[in-house]
C-alpha cells in the first residue's frame, strides 16, 4: 500500500489483537477498564428486550399511552425510564391484521439499545441485511414468521438517526392477564418484526 504501513488482512488471532490494543490504550490513558466496566455490565445485564416488553405491554393496556407511543415514541418510552444512546430518536411502528412491520439496518447494525439491548449476531449478518429488503416475505417465512397475503409487509431500513421498535399485536386470549404477565409474552424477535406472538 502507498503508506508503507498498511496491513489489509489479519494473520494473527483476534484475541492477540484485542490484548495488544487494550494494553496500548491503558498505557495511553484512553482506556480505564475499571471505569468502563460498569457501562459494559449495564449493556450486558441491565438492558435488554425486557425493557421493550414493558413498553409494549403498557401500550396494550393503556390506550392513551399507546397513542403517545405512536406519536412521540422517544418521550413515551422515557416515561418508563428507558433512554440513552441509540434510543434518542425512536419511532414505534404498529402491527395490525393487515400490516406487518419489520426492521433492518442494511448499512451496519443500527438497533434501539435502550429497549432491546445490544443486537444479536443474525441481525448484523449479511444474509439478514441483504435479503430483508429484497425478499421480506420469503425471509420472514424462512425465519418462522409467515405473513400471509394480502397483509402488507412494511420494511424499515434504519439508515439515518431513527431507531425503530415494532409494536406487535396483542395475542388472542390474553384478556385476563396483568400488565406484567403481558410483558412476559413479548419477545425480542416480535419487537424486531421477525416473529409473531
Amino acid at each position: 500500500m502507498d503508506d508503507g504501513h498498511h496491513h489489509p488482512l489479519p494473520s494473527t488471532p483476534v484475541e492477540d489483537r484485542v490484548a495488544a490494543l487494550e494494553s496500548l490504550l491503558v498505557e495511553k490513558g484512553i482506556l480505564n477498564p475499571a471505569a468502563i466496566d460498569a457501562v459494559v455490565e449495564h449493556y450486558e445485564h441491565a438492558v435488554g428486550p425486557m425493557n421493550g416488553a414493558k413498553v409494549v405491554a403498557r401500550a396494550w393496556v393503556d390506550e392513551a399511552y399507546r397513542e403517545r407511543l405512536l406519536t412521540d415514541a422517544t418521550a413515551a418510552i422515557a416515561e418508563l425510564g428507558f433512554s440513552g444512546p441509540e434510543g434518542d430518536h425512536m419511532v414505534v411502528v404498529e402491527n395490525t391484521p393487515v400490516v406487518h412491520n419489520v426492521v433492518v439496518c442494511t448499512l451496519c447494525s443500527c438497533y434501539p439499545w435502550p429497549v432491546l439491548g445490544l443486537p444479536p449476531n443474525w441481525y448484523k449478518s449479511p444474509p439478514y441485511r441483504s435479503r430483508m429488503v429484497r425478499e421480506p416475505r420469503v425471509l420472514l417465512s424462512e425465519m418462522g414468521c409467515p405473513v400471509p397475503e394480502p397483509s402488507e409487509i412494511r420494511v424499515w431500513d434504519s439508515s439515518a438517526e431513527i431507531r425503530y421498535l415494532v409494536l406487535p399485536m396483542r395475542p388472542e386470549g390474553s384478556g385476563g392477564l396483568s400488565e406484567d404477565e403481558l410483558a412476559g409474552l413479548v419477545t425480542r424477535d416480535a419487537m424486531i418484526g421477525v416473529a409473531h406472538l
Partner: protein, 208 residues
C-alpha cells in the same frame, strides 16, 4: 462491503438460540475499548467509515466485534492518538487496519439547512450519489423514485461530518419505495431514512 441491501447469494439467516450478549471474553473487551474511545470523543467521524474501509473478504469473514476492534485501531491511528508502529510493536506482528481514506478532506462543510424542503406525500427521487467517502445513502435506492412518509429531525450530514472538522445540519426523512421500483417485480415496500441532500424532487430529476 457494508452496503448490503438487496445483494444476492447469502443464503439462510442463521439464528443462535439463547445467544449471549458476548460470545467470548475478547468480544466483551473489544466492546469495552471501543466504547471507551467513543466516549472519549477520539473516534468521531471515523468509526463507521473505518469499518466500511475494511477489505471486503475480511469484512465478510470476520465476527462483528472484530469490525469494532479494527475500526477503533484504524480510527485512533488516523486521529493521531496512537501510531501504526506502536500497534505493530505491541502485537509483535503487522497490525491489520482498514484501507486508507480515499475521499479528500473538506475545508467547508457547506450551509446548514434546518427547514424541511419536502412534505409528507411528496414524490421524490434519490440522487445518483456514489461518493468514494462515507455516505448513508444505500446503493439499492440510488436513482429510485419514492414518496416521503415522515419528516424526521435535523441531523449532521454524515457525508460531510466524516471528512470535515465541522458539520452541516440537514433535515432527514423516511421515504417509502415500492418493490416494483426497486426490484422490477411486485412485492412489499421498503422505507429508508435519508438526509435531504440525497433527495431531489421528481421535477428536478431527469427521469421525472
Amino acid at each position: 462491503m457494508h452496503d448490503l441491501g438487496g445483494m444476492q447469494g447469502f443464503g439462510p439467516v442463521e439464528v443462535e438460540p439463547e445467544e449471549p450478549v458476548f460470545h467470548s471474553d475478547w468480544e466483551r473487551r473489544a466492546y469495552r475499548l471501543t466504547v471507551s474511545a467513543l466516549l472519549a470523543g477520539h473516534l468521531n467521524g471515523r468509526f463507521r467509515h473505518a469499518i466500511e474501509r475494511m477489505d471486503p473478504t475480511w469484512y465478510l469473514e470476520s465476527p462483528y466485534y472484530e469490525h469494532w476492534l479494527t475500526a477503533t485501531a484504524t480510527g485512533l491511528v488516523e486521529g493521531g492518538f496512537i501510531t501504526q508502529a506502536e500497534l505493530d510493536e505491541r502485537l509483535g506482528a503487522p497490525y491489520p487496519v482498514a484501507r486508507p481514506v480515499r475521499a479528500p478532506r473538506l475545508d467547508d462543510p457547506g450551509p446548514s439547512v434546518e427547514i424541511h424542503r419536502y412534505r409528507i406525500g411528496e414524490a421524490v427521487r434519490v440522487r445518483e450519489w456514489h461518493p468514494v467517502g462515507h455516505t448513508r445513502a444505500p446503493r439499492y435506492v440510488q436513482g429510485k423514485p419514492g414518496v416521503v412518509v415522515r419528516l424526521d429531525g435535523v441531523f449532521s450530514l454524515p457525508d460531510v461530518e466524516y471528512h470535515c472538522d465541522a458539520i452541516r445540519l440537514e433535515p432527514t426523512y423516511s421515504v417509502r419505495f415500492e418493490a416494483v421500483d426497486l426490484w422490477g417485480a411486485a412485492g412489499d415496500p421498503v422505507h429508508v431514512d435519508l438526509w435531504e441532500s440525497y433527495l431531489q424532487s421528481r421535477e428536478e430529476s431527469v427521469h421525472g
